[in-house]
């Protein structure tokens, strides 16, 4: 290890390399360089606004995914939960004439409830969360399809709440959902880095036995995180409903894998115990940039998958490489 020979006050560059977000930052810089060189308009404010708007809907779920992943579990059902959250809000507003705010609260409560059920089943039956949430993904997708018989639900009336959720714009093409996402990201960053609970999240995912031996309520931590990701998935669905005005029971099908990809690009470990909210958010921005960039340069959209795949491996490889060069600090 290089750490032994390191001077007590590392240089600026060395201090920079100590951060887990280095891999994703490099990936983002490369993606921006490539697209900007091929299409000058890529750095226009309008384009950047589109990117953060797309990143917000994916990113709000990815923040929850990395939080849960750090505590050692994963949730594949977020896509179905996302669609269901948006649909419940849309249905209550259009078909039941509910007060939109009340409908919104009920919608995200249902999503949080779905997350909690995932957690309760996983933790009490001791089934791997991969299996529990795979089942939940299919189950809730089926429920969503049943609710509207496959049809999308649209809200044609002007509902102020929807503008507040994602329809409205802050500036240029930046939708308000991007702002909410930044706030949510900041809250989760503080929880993870600056509260005792964050310490428990790291410990639960890092080494459950040790955490438990030291009195960390590991089961409670996991259950709370399952609930939080459910809540955030529903919120993401409501954001998208706000921007699109419609929600279809078939939307959000790739969301779970995309959220996991954003987390992994951002320096989270699939084994838990390690990760960064900032990195995850940069990961979501990287993926949104690829989406927008490929259309702008006129490349077939299918390259999106290949590109993201490449970035996932490259960013993780870079993190591992850096990990060998210097010892991580957290």
């Amino acid at each position: 290890m290089d750490g032994k020979g390191s001077s007590p006050k590392p240089s600026f560059w060395k201090a920079l390399l100590h951060h887990r977000e280095v891999g994703v930052a490099c990936a983002l810089i490369i993606v921006f360089t490539v697209f900007f060189s091929m299409k000058r308009q890529f750095l226009n404010p309008g384009t950047l606004g589109d990117i953060v708007t797309i990143a917000a809907e994916l990113g709000v779920v990815a923040v929850g995914a990395s939080f849960l992943m750090i505590s050692g579990e994963m949730d594949l059902s977020v896509g179905s939960n996302f669609a269901l959250g948006g649909m419940i809000l849309a249905m209550l507003v259009t078909k039941q004439n509910w007060n939109p705010v009340l409908a919104f609260i009920l919608a995200i409560s249902c999503s949080a409830g779905i997350g909690a059920v995932n957690g309760i089943i996983t933790l009490s039956a001791r089934i791997p969360s991969f299996i529990t949430t795979l089942g939940a993904m299919m189950f809730w997708r089926g429920v969503a399809l049943y609710l509207t018989q496959g049809w999308p639900i649209s809200i044609f009336e002007d509902v102020p709440l929807l503008r507040w959720l994602g329809g409205g714009r802050v500036i240029s093409t930046v939708h308000i959902s991007a702002l909410w996402w930044l706030i949510i990201g900041a809250i989760f960053w503080i929880i993870l880095q600056k509260t005792p609970y964050g310490n428990w999240v790291f410990a639960t995912g890092g080494k459950r036995g040790a955490a438990r031996a030291l009195g960390v309520p590991d089961v409670k931590v996991k259950l709370i995180n399952f609930t939080l990701i459910g809540l955030l998935a529903g919120l993401g669905g409501c954001f998208q409903l706000g921007r699109m005005g419609s929600m279809s029971p078939v939307w959000g099908q790739e969301l779970a894998l995309e959220a996991i990809a954003a987390s992994v690009i951002g320096g989270n470990s699939l084994n838990g115990g390690v990760g960064s909210i900032l990195g995850t958010m940069l990961g979501a921005i990287t993926m949104a940039s690829i989406r927008i960039g490929l259309v702008m340069i006129g490349a077939p959209a299918y390259w999106y998958m290949s590109f993201v795949g490449f970035i996932v491996v490259a960013a993780v490889a870079l993190n591992v490489k850096l990990g060998e060069v210097i010892s991580w600090s957290k």
Binding site: S154, G245, R291
Partner: protein, 321 residues
């Protein structure tokens, strides 16, 4: 470590240079986007893509076809926004959702970007809410009614039928299905079921088989596109249903044509989607160049039967119909 960073720099530099050269070659030309709710992985959209590309070549402009891997409106809207950000000279898009397209198209029009709709439109009750300049395609609901009327002479009063839908929730396909079942219910008074057969061919066959087992008196099957037709035709061949159950579909694709020639399929609606790609680029080009207003273009509501199947078969194989 240094070597690794160096490698990354070289890689990005190489990509950068590669990028500049392509930018220069297309810099003076106009760029048009055609954005669909599904990409060229669907044989139907591969023909549209061909129309787009051919129009681009013929006119000497950059014409780009884009679409998400599977039916996905939010992703399509994101692609549309990206095309706007790329400062396209015109964009064509399918109106895959009556609500989601309102703001993006308003935004594009306010920026002075000409927009035409292709392939599918918002349903009747919302007509006029989305400010695209023209529609190039067919009326899905009317086409559904048409195919039902084509089979009507061969069906008895009270006959049961099933409409198999491979993308539940897709506005255009749902409208086709509704057109079929509205006519059959009204004219025959029989039961018409809607069946979600998914986009997975193996699953679709299984779902159809178990439906027919449960409903042995089914007199007619309708599918609403090639992804539904391919598994249905395979099932009808495997289970020897030719002559026992009437079958009709939408769109031209080689399996469907062969089935028509073999007498398994009564006929298929041809919406000539090549035109949707080609004419969209032409109309956008003419608007951008000469300020000619785009006009609605009915890409056709022909019904291909055994008599006409041979003629179009060659063109289907070549990817033009």
């Amino acid at each position: 470590m240094k070597r690794f960073v160096g490698l990354l720099l070289v890689l990005s530099l190489a990509l950068t240079l590669g990028g500049i050269s392509t930018t220069v070659s297309a810099a003076d030309n106009m760029t048009f986007y055609v954005i669909a709710h599904t990409g060229p992985g669907d044989p139907f959209w591969a023909v549209v893509q061909r129309g787009v590309q051919d129009a681009g070549k013929a006119l000497g402009v950059r014409a780009i076809f884009q679409g998400p891997a599977g039916y996905n409106v939010p992703e399509q809207v994101n692609m549309f926004n990206a095309a706007m950000a790329a400062q396209a000279d015109g964009i064509a898009t399918s109106i895959s959702d009556a609500r989601a397209w309102v703001e993006p198209i308003k935004e594009a029009r306010s920026r002075g970007i000409p927009i035409v709709a292709i392939n599918c439109q918002e349903p009747e009750e919302h007509k006029g809410t989305i400010p695209y300049m023209a529609y190039i395609g067919m009326n899905e609901y009317e086409a559904g009614r048409m195919v039902a009327y084509k089979l009507m002479p061969k069906l008895k009063k009270g006959a049961k039928a099933v409409v198999a839908i491979h993308q539940a929730g897709h506005v255009g396909l749902e409208a086709r299905a509704k057109g079929i079942s509205d006519v059959l219910t009204a004219e025959l008074g029989g039961k018409v079921d809607k069946l979600d057969i998914t986009q997975d061919a193996t699953q679709a066959i299984g779902i159809l088989r178990s439906y027919l087992k449960a409903n042995p008196d089914t007199a007619a099957i309708f599918t609403v596109g090639p992804l539904g037709a391919i598994p249905t035709i395979k099932m009808m061949r495997d289970d020897g249903l030719k002559g026992k159950i009437l079958y009709a579909s939408f769109d031209l694709e080689s399996n469907t044509i062969q089935a028509i020639k073999d007498g398994i399929c009564e006929g298929t609606v041809d919406q000539q989607q090549y035109l949707q790609g080609f004419m969209a680029v032409v109309e956008l080009y003419l608007n951008a160049k000469f300020k000619l207003d785009p006009a609605d273009y009915d890409t056709g509501r022909g019904f291909i039967t055994k008599e006409t199947a041979d003629i179009v078969e060659v063109l289907v194989k070549d990817g033009y119909r």
